[in-house]
């Protein structure tokens, strides 16, 4: 039982070990320097401590407070407002299934239900091996690729229950998995470091997966005289050339 349950004030959190503290403080200084006012670096710092531990711990909150000269209460108030900051460790791969209306109707609800069953875990929980956590997420600005699944916030577009099950199986088996839009997956912690504001140093990561899938390019192709799939073609499909009349 924790001390709060006994009605006692919580003990101050332990700090990070000195070497971790030093390393993170250097990162924090770099982030803080990007803003005219230090407090603006709070969201990045919360991503940073999440990159260290996989969630925002009491130690992480204490660290942020010290770097920015805030109270832990002030930092906690902010950390609990935003859904991306986790209060318990995420899996190595955090799987978000969009169940906002459009994706849900197009199949996201079924995908989420089947994943839950397949992994035998509930929403916002992690598999016992620590490999995969799942979460119902809100619209992720990819409705033209519905139903959408995110893994460590990279896009897995146009999913089906089968493809999503296969995806998590491969993640658990430690196989290399590539998103439809985004770079080869890195761990949830490494992803959080990018979110904190540090560039992905992996060779070629920025260039992976092209400019977007068919939905992103549909309008441009049509405007260039290409016929879209499933349309009665008055036009000939002519990839990347000026339109050719049939």
């Amino acid at each position: 039982m924790s001390s709060t349950e006994l009605g006692l004030p919580a003990l101050p959190a332990k700090p990070y070990p000195p070497d971790v503290e030093r390393r993170l403080a250097a990162d924090a200084a770099e982030l803080i320097a990007r803003y005219p006012h230090s407090r603006s670096a709070l969201l990045p710092l919360l991503h940073l401590v999440q990159a260290e531990e996989g969630f925002v711990s009491a130690t992480g909150i204490r660290f942020c407070a010290e770097q920015l000269d805030l109270t832990t209460a002030e930092v906690t108030a902010v950390a609990t407002f935003y859904t991306m900051y986790r209060r318990r460790p995420a899996g190595e791969y955090h799987v978000g299934v969009c169940t906002n209306t459009l994706c849900a109707v197009l199949g996201g609800d079924q995908i989420f239900d089947e994943l839950k069953q397949h992994l035998e875990i509930e929403n916002n929980r992690t598999t016992e091996d620590g490999a995969v956590s799942i979460e119902r997420i809100e619209c992720n600005a990819a409705c033209d690729y519905a139903p959408v699944v995110m893994v460590n916030w990279e896009f897995f577009d146009n999913q089906t229950p089968e493809s999503a099950r296969e995806l998590v199986d491969r993640l658990r088996a430690g196989e290399e998995v590539r998103p439809t839009r985004g770079a080869k997956l890195c761990s949830f912690k490494e992803t959080s470091r990018i979110l904190a504001g540090f560039a992905d140093e992996r060779e070629g990561a920025v260039d992976e997966s092209g400019a977007g899938g068919a939905p992103s390019l549909a309008g441009l192709r049509l405007a260039k005289g290409e016929a879209l799939p499933g349309t009665p073609g008055a036009k000939v499909v002519s990839p990347r050339q000026e339109g050719t009349e049939a």
Partner: protein
Amino acid sequence: MTSAEPAEKLLSPVLSASWDDRRPWTLDTYRRHGGYDGLRTALTMAPDDVIALVKESGLRGRGGAGFPTGLKWQFIPQNDGKPHYLVVNADESEPGTCKDIPLLFANPHSLIEGMAIASWAIRCNHAFIYLRGEVVPVLRRLQAAVAEAYAAGFLGKDALGEGNDLDITVHAGAGAYICGEETALLDSLEGRRGQPRLRPPFPAVAGLYACPTVVNNVESIASVPPILARGKDWFKSLGTEKSPGFTLYSLSGHVTNPGQYEAPLGITLRQLLDITGGIRAGHRLKFWTPGGSSTPMFTDEHLDVPLDYEGVGAAGSMLGTKALQVFDETTCVVRAVTRWTEFYAHESCGKCTPCREGTYWLVQLLKRIEAGQGVPGDLEKLLDIADNINGKSFCALGDGAASPIVSSLQHFRAEYEQHINEHRCPFDPAASTVWADRASVHESATEREVHA
């Protein structure tokens, strides 16, 4: 019915014109397409002249409200001795909205160039991009593009001329729809909970760090470079008189070809469906949103409404973000509205009572109706609560929450009543999935593009 106009005539790729080129997210490709020419032009002009040009072009904000962009810039006080800030709203989280994310993924430099031009105009030396956090591929490209722009001298020391620096900070949010509301965004960017501020003072007077601040949507800012490069008359030659220019329409849902369609303002959904293969095979349109879930829904009666600010407004909705979410006859409207309402309840920031409490109670009622346990009087109660939220909340999230309820009850009241009278939902959710008609579903939906 087929459109009289061929597709090429109805569409006008500008922002999306380079997306099928080789690595369009790089500076090299962007420059090959005339990138940063607009900035060069802007820097030869006086800042006030740039503002005047953008104002005269008629460009209106693409973030939802359609406020004239040049006018917003003009509100920034000059010679006030305070720093000025430009903050780009890349929080894109309104359900259905999916234009800024593909734009930034394919062509982040169009935003950066626009930011440099806007910064010159409003005398800003430090600009910010507030990107929603859940889109790491886009964050990666933005970080890389900003670094490229620094290396090329478009950003950094003396970027806007001798002694006139420009810095851009890319800032990732952490999951909160309300942070798309511009004043909540500013609080969030200051390292606080994202809750809206009382207005006035407006951000133009007291925004980020209580300094004059322009908050603009990604697409608004990205639309500025072509105006500088090609002129306001070209811009005004597209679209309608009061809604000039081009814009990204995002088609999603039960359609043959979902995607981004850049067209002059004023195109209709009928025209878009005609040229893109229509509703998915064997089905018909039931309801759609013109600009995201917060805009009152339309039905097949509204297929010919011109999708510009005035046209959609006159028909009783809002152009919003031009997020055309299309649902066919297999979709239960009660289910759709329930899910959207759960979204608003989840995302309500809790600052004001009508929204915080009202969205909670709406969800309770809707879930009960959807489950077939509604009782007579529930629909009146829904409308009553929606009425107590709409126009009585602190920010527009509350109004948005009321929209799907009121509009769906207006168009589909009988369907709600059917749920109550038959004590069940008459729809089969399996029929609405993309794999329901697998045999007739086209491969295109899962096709992947790779540009080496």
